[in-house]
């Protein structure tokens, strides 16, 4: 299976709050919120952590098989990428400093 890396999209502000995450598009002020599992994935969206490791973290926290966690994470990432909240790459994303504006 090819490895994937994820990082926040451009022009986003985000913060962890009460175990969840709130994200705002600075372009149109649209707000998004992520639940605890989504927040766990978002925390791994640093451009350097392989998706395999993010999935392993999910399996450590929740009673779920690796296959289920991987499938759900892939669906979730695809949805966020479709909304411009995440960028996905087959290799590490090294220039996240210009993109990342939040603190987790």
């Amino acid at each position: 299976m090819n490895e994937k890396f994820i990082a926040p999209g451009d022009g986003l502000a985000y913060r962890a709050l009460g175990g969840e995450t709130i994200i705002m598009s600075a372009t149109d002020s649209t707000l998004f919120s992520l639940d605890e599992v989504g927040s766990l994935i978002w925390q791994g969206a640093d451009g350097r952590t392989p998706l395999t490791e993010i999935v392993a973290r999910i399996c450590d926290h929740y009673d779920v098989t690796h296959e289920e966690a991987r499938r759900d994470a892939e669906e979730f990432i695809a949805e966020l990428a479709g909304r411009g909240l995440l960028v996905v790459s087959g290799q590490a994303i090294l220039d996240t400093r210009t993109r990342v504006s939040g603190a987790l």
Partner: protein, 278 residues
């Protein structure tokens, strides 16, 4: 830059400021210098209670008066060419240099145009200081400020009218919130809503924020931090879509809800609702 040149030209040749008026809102003193001395009186009347001639004005605004042009209901346009902000609406054209803290406005001789400009400039100044303007009424009771947020019709003015006599009105429309050290303070403003009455020029630490909802009974419900942040962000005045500004306001809002209690207040028009507040 052309805008900068025009700013200097106005300052040096077009505007004569025999006196001017210093308006201090939220501890921010802005010296307004109209091109005609008789407009001092219009400003003084509009901002009665918020004048402070002895305050050192760190901010200065020249008002170039001209004949009325378009109606004020035209769209407001804001453009940021850092550090310069350009503000335009049918009834005025203005520039604000956030670095030199100087600005000018070209408008007709009415208090409404400069009022809008001041709201915008204060929101920009506040954003740099971890604060914001919020669609909320606010009152002080027993030395603590309570904010009541909601869209138009949510009950901001109603809850202010129901307040007990010992409560001091800061505003029934736009609350002025700034971080000072480790706490958030709410300040009185002259920006009035339906009450058409300026707030008192006082401030107090923010004790709580209530998200207003009209109902058939009085009750308070807890709001999770994330929902609180969403509600607060919906009620913060965003005049510009500038990325840096939006991010700054976002951070301020999230920081605020992590420190200040936010609850939902369902209320019926009855003074007893104030027994729940505090």
């Amino acid at each position: 830059m052309d805008a900068e040149r025009s700013l200097r030209q106005l300052d040096e040749s077009s505007v004569h400021a025999p006196r001017g008026v210093t308006v201090e809102i939220g501890g921010v003193a802005i010296h307004l210098r109209p091109s005609r001395p008789d407009f001092d009186e219009v400003i003084s009347k509009r901002y009665s209670g918020f004048l402070n001639s002895s305050a050192p004005a760190a901010y200065k605004f020249d008002i170039l008066l001209q004949n009325p042009s378009q109606a004020p209901d035209a769209d407001l346009r804001l453009l940021n060419c850092d550090p310069l902000w350009r503000l335009e609406r049918g009834d005025f054209r203005a520039e604000w240099d956030s670095q030199s803290r100087r600005g000018w406005v070209r408008q007709a001789a009415n208090p409404y145009s400069i009022d809008t400009v001041l709201r915008i400039v204060h929101s920009l100044i506040l954003a740099e200081q971890g604060g914001f303007l919020l669609h909320a009424s606010s009152l002080v009771r027993n030395g603590r400020a309570f904010l009541f947020a909601g869209i138009s019709g949510a009950g901001k003015t109603t809850i202010s009218r129901l307040a007990p006599p010992d409560a001091v009105l800061l505003t029934d429309e736009i609350s002025y919130v700034r971080r000072t050290g480790t706490e958030y303070r709410a300040y009185g403003t002259p920006f009035a809503g339906e009450l058409e009455k300026s707030g008192a020029n006082v401030s107090a630490p923010v004790s709580a924020v209530y998200l207003l909802e009209k109902g058939s009974e009085n009750r308070i419900g807890a709001v999770e931090p994330l929902a609180a942040a969403r509600s607060l962000l919906r009620n913060i005045l965003f005049f510009a879509r500038d990325h840096d500004l939006v991010k700054r306001l976002f951070d301020s809002a999230v920081e605020f809800v992590s420190q200040v209690r936010v609850s939902r207040l369902v209320f019926t028009p009855d003074t007893r609702v104030w027994e729940l507040i505090g």
